[in-house]
């Protein structure tokens, strides 16, 4: 096991290396030069000043040279200074991560908490009205773009009914502290999380349902019934543990999807998280931040995959590394 994890970690580093080359290459091709961006609206900036700024931002280096110096710094944990925020990329990531992690984390847990029981329920009642209803809702959820949902939900619950805040993370007017602050933040997260859950729960739910259907027709479930186990226990113990096996493999693939989704959701609800900032960074040509952000997610994804592989071994005794 230990050996396996070490081996996987080494491979992950190799993969990260590949990711970084790919990303840097693409990021370097971005034409939206930061300096010309910030200077173009200002009538008084002279070409000399622009040139000086370009040197200051290191934009005058070629791609290979730039990559090598970036890599050298990155290995030491220095991902450079964001052009826009004028702060080290690592500290920006640390600063804005909580919002994104909270959003993505809560959404992920809720998605699983809803998708698993509903998927199981639908499978148990295959071809029943309940089954059709659950599956229909799930599929409608994954058949509309997230921004569409967000706009409509915002219109109905925030603007129309006024029961939820329109955007932001806390109520600015109130100086909440302690639990009140927590509750206030939770309230601001209701809509973004709902959008997340609605738009991605469907695929997991279908996955759970299909797996459950398969497990329910398995011989060992019949055996469990033949032992006289109550149906509830058959499902909760024997069937569920086996559906869990494919579900944990989803874990790794959920992470990049969540962070990609965060880009949209955060920008719609004006949540200051990594995704929203990344969007701004693209528009502004903030290469250091983009590199840092994408590398961060790539690393997270690889860790997620590793965790799901380890979990795979946890839930399935047949798997040994």
């Amino acid at each position: 096991m230990k050996q396996y994890i070490i081996k996987r970690l080494l491979i992950s580093i190799l993969v990260l290396f590949g990711v970084s080359i790919l990303l840097y290459g693409i990021a370097h091709m971005v034409p939206g030069d930061y300096v010309s961006n910030i200077s173009s609206g200002n009538q008084n900036i002279t070409p000399e000043m622009e040139q000086r700024m370009r040197e200051a931002y290191g934009l005058d280096k070629g791609p290979v040279e730039g990559y090598i110096s970036w890599l050298g710094d990155a290995i030491r944990g220095d991902f450079g200074t964001s052009f826009v925020y004028k702060e080290p990329v690592t500290s920006i990531i640390i600063k804005y991560m909580p919002a994104t992690l909270a959003l993505a984390g809560i959404s992920m847990v809720l998605e699983l908490l809803l998708a698993i029981p509903l998927g199981i329920l639908a499978a148990r009642r295959q071809y029943s009205f309940t089954d059709y209803t659950i599956v229909a809702i799930a599929i409608v959820g994954i058949s509309l773009p997230s921004f569409f949902f967000a706009a409509v939900l915002k219109r109905v619950f925030a603007i129309g009914l006024g029961v939820l805040p329109i955007s932001g993370m806390v109520t600015a007017r109130a100086n909440f502290t302690g639990f009140a602050l927590f509750a206030d933040m939770a309230k601001h997260f209701v809509l973004p999380v709902t959008v997340f859950v609605l738009t991605s729960m469907g695929s997991y739910l279908r996955y759970v349902r299909t797996n459950m259907l398969e497990v329910l027709s398995a011989d060992y479930v019949r055996t469990a019934r033949a032992k006289g186990l109550p149906e509830r226990k058959v499902i909760a113990k024997h069937a569920f543990r086996n559906t869990l096996i494919p579900i944990v493999t989803l874990f790794g693939s959920m992470i990049p999807a969540l962070f990609s989704g965060a880009v949209i959701t955060e920008s719609i609800f004006a949540l200051e998280g990594l995704g929203n900032i990344a969007l701004k960074a693209v528009y502004a040509g903030d290469i250091p931040y983009l590199m840092g952000f994408n590398m961060f997610i790539a690393a997270l994804t690889l860790i997620g995959t590793l965790v799901s592989d380890v979990l795979y071994a946890v839930v399935d005794p047949r798997v040994r590394y």
């Binding site: 491979i11 190799l14 993969v15 990260l16 590949g18 990711v19 790919l22 990303l23 693409i26 990021a27 091709m29 971005v30 034409p31 939206g32 599929i139 409608v140 994954i142 058949s143 509309l144 773009p145 997230s146 921004f147 569409f148 706009a151 409509v152 219109r155 603007i159 279908r206 996955y207 299909t210 797996n211 259907l213 398969e214 027709s217 494919p246 693939s253 990049p256 962070f259 990609s260 989704g261 880009v263 949209i264 719609i268 990344a278 969007l279 693209v282 983009l290 952000f293 994408n294 997610i297 790539a298 690393a299 994804t301 690889l302 995959t305």
Partner: protein, 331 residues
């Protein structure tokens, strides 16, 4: 005794006639069409394709034709007419539903109905082409990895991991910036976007196909085929490909819907199908303007419904396909 045999034969024939023997393809088709939802899905797609393919020929307007309105007489003037330079001309923006504009006009004064038809062409086309590209690359790479194994497999799988680790939307944003700068003409941009999406999506397909081939290789009949020493090409053509087909068709139907959604998200972020061309995605992204969301339901709801129905339909078809191939098959 002979009599009996004859009779037996007769009855046997009758029996066989009753019991229609179906080829696997027919069986799949039969199972597919038995699924009501899948049929509805197929129906929706056909209607959508007809609407988008034929509609533009029927519509009297152009895809990006704007309509002027004479502010004193209230008379609508088309873009091609000479009087558009007049001093009392305004643009007929956000016009309500009327007999001239069945779904009104949008914020730039263009006919929503006509754009819906042209937009559908793009959206459906994008979905199909992207999936075709990802399938070609994915099946090829996955097939090579699964079939040859060893170092080739190792390298391809690492590539797959690299592509899987990159968050799609930020990357797509960066890439489309690059596209602009490299002087791609706006009317060609759509092809580039399709190509890039296809290239970015291949990794998932490759992994599935590889998995499928690996498990196929373990199966008895494959080993039997190997034991008889048939040629590699024949082995791939006759044994592997037909068995990978179901999963390929499944991915195809499931992903088309996803790609249509992704295109709309890209349009929303301003990097999708470029003006003046319409796509359902860039038509629906006006929902971000709360004024339009609130007051002009005729502008955003139709493309929204089109996306919903189309993606839903592809999903139904995908589900139907899966059940038709093998009710137990997972994704």
């Amino acid at each position: 005794m002979e009599d009996l045999q004859e009779r037996n034969q007769l009855e046997q024939d009758e029996f066989e006639q009753n019991q229609v023997i179906l080829t696997p393809g027919q069986l799949v088709a039969k199972r597919f069409f038995r699924n009501k939802l899948a049929c509805v899905g197929l129906g929706i797609i056909i209607v959508m394709i007809l609407f988008c393919a034929i509609g533009p020929f029927i519509s009297p307007y152009g895809e990006y034709e704007i309509f002027y309105i004479n502010s004193t007489t209230g008379e609508e003037v088309r873009m091609k007419e000479d009087s558009v330079g007049g001093s009392d001309m305004g643009i007929n923006v956000k016009a309500p539903i009327s007999s001239a504009h069945w779904l009104g006009t949008d914020a730039d004064g263009r006919d929503v109905m006509t754009r819906l038809m042209y937009g559908g062409r793009i959206s459906l086309f994008v979905g199909i082409i992207v999936v075709a590209i990802e399938l070609v690359i994915g099946v090829l790479m996955g097939g090579i990895a699964g079939y040859y194994g060893g170092a080739v497999d190792m390298i391809i799988m690492r590539l797959v991991e690299i592509f899987n680790s990159i968050p799609f939307i930020p990357l797509m944003l960066i890439i489309s910036s690059v596209l602009f700068a490299s002087g791609v003409k706006p009317q060609h941009k759509i092809f580039w976007i399709m190509g890039i999406m296809g290239v970015l999506y291949w990794a998932g397909v490759a992994r599935l196909v590889r998995g499928q081939i690996l498990s196929l290789r373990e199966l008895e009949y494959m080993q039997a085929a190997e034991a008889t020493g048939i040629r590699t090409s024949k082995k791939i053509l006759k044994h592997l490909i037909p068995n990978v087909m179901p999963i390929i068709i499944l991915i195809a139907t499931m992903d088309i819907g996803g790609v249509i959604l992704t295109e709309s998200v890209l349009s929303y972020l301003g990097v999708g199908i470029a003006w003046p061309f319409a796509s359902w995605g860039n038509m629906v992204d006006v929902v971000k303007q709360s004024v339009i969301l609130k007051n002009y339901i005729n502008i955003w709801l139709p493309p929204g419904i089109c996306i919903l129905l189309t993606v839903l339909a592809w999903n139904f078809i995908g589900d139907g396909m899966r059940d038709a191939f093998d009710p137990r098959m997972k994704r």
